[in-house]
């Protein structure tokens, strides 16, 4: 770059001009903080792993990790808990990206646990809560000591309470009343054998920040995040994809609609939203104008009870 030293403002980012010559745009500030977190983990842990689902938050996490260690490769492997009800487009994306960056991908299959009796299918067919056991099993058997999650504090009121470095006991459990103080940017990752630390580099990002960053960085996403036609049916006030996972039931008529996914998870509980946003700019405009939160619009599992997320997190969920 040929910027003169007396005017260090990057011309490629018009958002920087309002706060003096050394201002950082909010995206640059968030990026710098996340990269710092990745490097702290690389410096202090033996066996870190990135939870990589092929969803937008985990894609942004991986993108940040790639930038944090460039031109060297990312010093972590990837872990995905496959519910068996994942979107095929997302699984294809996951495999392509892992191969492209030469990263080791561990996959824990919920189906294996159902097959050998360690887990039982739920009456409602959703497999989202079933992910915790395979996740903890993978962490234990691979002796992962730091596990990066893409959780953001703006997603949910229990997540809003969690530290960036979140200690899990030997049962993988989170105790919200016994969180360590976390001051400045000094992260304490010390843990006993058998314990691990969940690390949330995107803690301070909002959904809109994630999308704006995806636009700025030109990051490719699985196509289901953009508007497309799909066979869907209505359940619990949201559009679910018709498929082998157990939907629709007889009284649930299937129709073809123009939709997109705002979050990506288990097909049985991730709803699509009506949308004609086929470009990243259109998606950003749609989110900025939305009167519903991302989880409120798309997740059946969080409507179960007031403290559904806290309860799942206590047991070791993402």
């Amino acid at each position: 770059m040929t910027t003169a030293t007396d005017s260090p403002v990057r011309t490629d980012d018009p958002g920087q001009n309002s706060g003096g010559p050394f201002a950082l745009s909010h995206l640059d500030a968030l990026e710098a903080e996340s990269v710092h977190i990745f490097r702290e983990v690389a410096g202090e842990f033996e066996r870190p792993v990135i939870l990589f689902s092929g969803g937008k938050d985990s894609i942004v996490m991986l993108h940040l990790a790639l930038k944090a260690f460039a031109p060297a490769p990312v010093p972590f492997s990837l872990l995905h808990v496959d519910t068996g009800h994942n979107f095929p487009e997302v699984i294809a994306y996951r495999d392509r990206v892992a191969a492209e960056h030469n990263l080791r991908l561990h996959v824990a299959h919920v189906q294996d646990f159902i097959d050998d009796g360690r887990l039982r299918e739920r009456p409602d067919g959703t497999r989202n809560p079933l992910q915790t056991v395979p996740l903890l099993d993978a962490i234990e058997s691979n002796r992962f000591d730091a596990v990066f999650g893409g959780g953001r504090r703006d997603e949910e009121k229990a997540r809003a309470k969690e530290r960036v470095f979140s200690l899990r006991d030997e049962f993988g459990a989170w105790d919200p009343r016994r969180q360590r103080p976390e001051l400045w940017s000094l992260y304490n990752g010390r843990h006993a054998v058998g314990e691990h630390v969940r690390v949330f580099p995107l803690s301070n990002w909002t959904e809109l920040d994630v999308w704006q960053y995806i636009e700025r960085e030109g990051i490719e996403l699985p196509e289901i995040y953009y508007a497309h036609e799909r066979d869907v049916f209505a359940r619990s006030g949201m559009w679910l994809t018709a498929g082998e996972w157990g939907g629709p039931k007889d009284n649930e008529p299937v129709e073809r609609r123009l939709i997109r996914y705002r979050t990506v998870g288990d097909m049985s509980c991730t709803g699509a939203v009506d949308s004609d946003a086929t470009t990243i700019q259109a998606v950003i405009a749609e989110i900025a104008a939305s009167r519903l939160t991302e989880r409120g619009a798309t997740r059946a599992d969080d409507k179960l009870s007031e403290a559904a997320m806290e309860d799942r997190k206590r047991e070791g969920y993402f």
């Binding site: 703006d154 969180q179 909002t206």
Partner: protein, 447 residues
């Protein structure tokens, strides 16, 4: 998120609430989010539903942030909640902290990264012990801006004299802590007066609403006015065919500006070298400034690893003897003779607590100042005090007053990894009375 967000909005203010239990912090946060149209329909619906279940007629806005089961059951905040909102003028990261004395450590967590603290006071009760404690913590952490929000004005008939008396007492106390400018705002978090909209009940108040102030208070420091500090986090050595000889030092600038060609000192070794190149997350550049995360290449092949500090400008002299003001965060007392781990920037070393020089006693009535109590046997949870430490290896510390990032550290229990104490190198308060009253076990001890 409001529909009026400009996608180019840039400046970011991190702020925290503070003040005694039930003074209305979470209600204020809920009001701020609600009236700035940052609460989405499903969130509001959930709060209305939860409020009805609790037999309340109007939605309890505190439920927007009191997200833990135990918090909702007890109607208090236990741990910090972080919330995010934006107005056309600014983006905000807000930490709603607990007022209960038992959870002071969580308030310390929330305030440590804040650039502004909103200290709430219940207009009926005025400044109480916990108000003084939180104000002292905010001053200790050097939160640059403090706002006093005199809340529940609806319960005192919106009377100016009530507000004026509290504002005068608090401002005098804050000045004794070294906090120079305090803005006092009379509000009702419940009714919304002077939070986002100006109050119709308090004509006598001519100042800004709380949100107006949050939107316009100057933030950020000027990196060009500070010496550069770059703690090395990680050494990047790809050793690939494409980059066989690349060696870069990854880190985040803690302060200042680094340019290609700048001479730098490597601490604690004291060796000097020159910045050969800067890679800003994959893109080569010739200048970087705090708080950017970058990778620095140097002209000389020196032995540098995680924990070293690259410094330009006046560099701190590495030392094994540290004097610091500390805030003790754990139920286990901190005593002279304790062996701990000290985490400073990217370096963790063994350390010995040589001496608890004194505990700082907070004033208990208007007009009193902070007082040193020497001869303290140890520091109990929530105590603020002054200690002398000896480390196994030299550290390059700035004073906390000069640099929040390179002047701060944690003490950690080597046995189980618990975070024990937050440390700030140097003297925190210039105004502590040095009468050296002996430390008797205190009834008003912070437990």
């Amino acid at each position: 998120m409001s529909t009026t967000i400009e996608t180019t909005a840039t400046s970011l203010l991190r702020f925290a609430t503070a003040g005694s239990v039930d003074d209305g912090k979470s209600t204020l946060v809920g009001r701020l989010l609600h009236d700035s149209k940052s609460v989405l329909a499903d969130q509001l619906e959930a709060v209305e539903h939860a409020s009805r279940n609790r037999g309340q007629e109007t939605p309890d806005l505190a439920l927007l942030t009191d997200g833990l089961r135990a918090e909702r059951e007890q109607g208090i905040t236990i741990d910090v909640a972080y919330r995010y909102f934006a107005t056309p003028r600014r983006r905000f990261i807000l930490a709603d902290t607990p007022g209960h004395v038992q959870y002071t450590r969580n308030m310390v967590t929330g305030a440590s990264t804040a650039e502004l603290a909103v200290v709430l006071v219940d207009a009926r009760n005025g400044v109480v012990e916990q108000t003084r404690r939180h104000a002292a913590v905010a001053a200790l952490l050097r939160v640059p801006h403090v706002v006093l929000a005199v809340n529940k004005m609806d319960l005192v008939d919106y009377a100016e004299p009530v507000f004026a008396a509290i504002a005068a007492e608090f401002t005098a106390y804050a000045a004794s802590l070294g906090v120079k400018d305090v803005l006092a705002v009379p509000i009702s978090a419940l009714a919304g007066d002077n939070v986002v909209e100006p109050s119709a009940h308090m004509d006598w108040y001519g100042g800004p609403t709380l949100l107006e102030h949050l939107e316009t208070v100057p933030v950020g420091s000027d990196p060009s006015a500070e010496p550069a500090r770059f703690p090395v986090q990680y050494v990047i050595r790809p050793q690939t065919e494409e980059h066989p000889d690349y060696r870069g030092y990854a880190g985040q600038l803690a302060s200042g500006v680094l340019r290609v060609g700048d001479p730098v000192t490597v601490l604690p070794s004291g060796l000097t070298t020159t910045v050969a190149g800067i890679d800003a997350l994959g893109r080569s550049t010739d200048i970087a400034w705090a708080p950017q995360s970058v990778t620095v290449r140097l002209t000389d092949d020196l032995d540098i690893s995680r924990g070293d500090l690259l410094a330009a400008g006046p560099a701190p002299a590495p030392t094994k003897d540290i004097e610091a003001t500390v805030s003790h965060l754990n139920e286990r007392p901190l005593r002279a003779g304790d062996k701990v781990l000290l985490k400073h920037t990217t370096r963790t070393v063994r350390a010995l607590v040589k001496e608890i020089s004194y505990r700082i006693a907070l004033p208990t009535k208007p007009g009193d100042t902070l007082e040193q109590r020497s001869g303290a046997e140890g520091l109990n949870v929530n105590d603020i005090g002054h200690v002398v430490l000896r480390t196994a290896e030299p550290l390059a510390l700035d004073t906390y007053s000069a640099n929040r990032r390179t002047g701060s550290f944690l003490l950690i229990d080597p046995a189980d990894g618990t975070t024990l104490t937050a440390g700030m190198a140097g003297e925190a308060f210039e105004t502590v009375r040095t009468t050296d009253a002996p430390d008797a076990p205190q009834e008003e001890d912070w437990v």
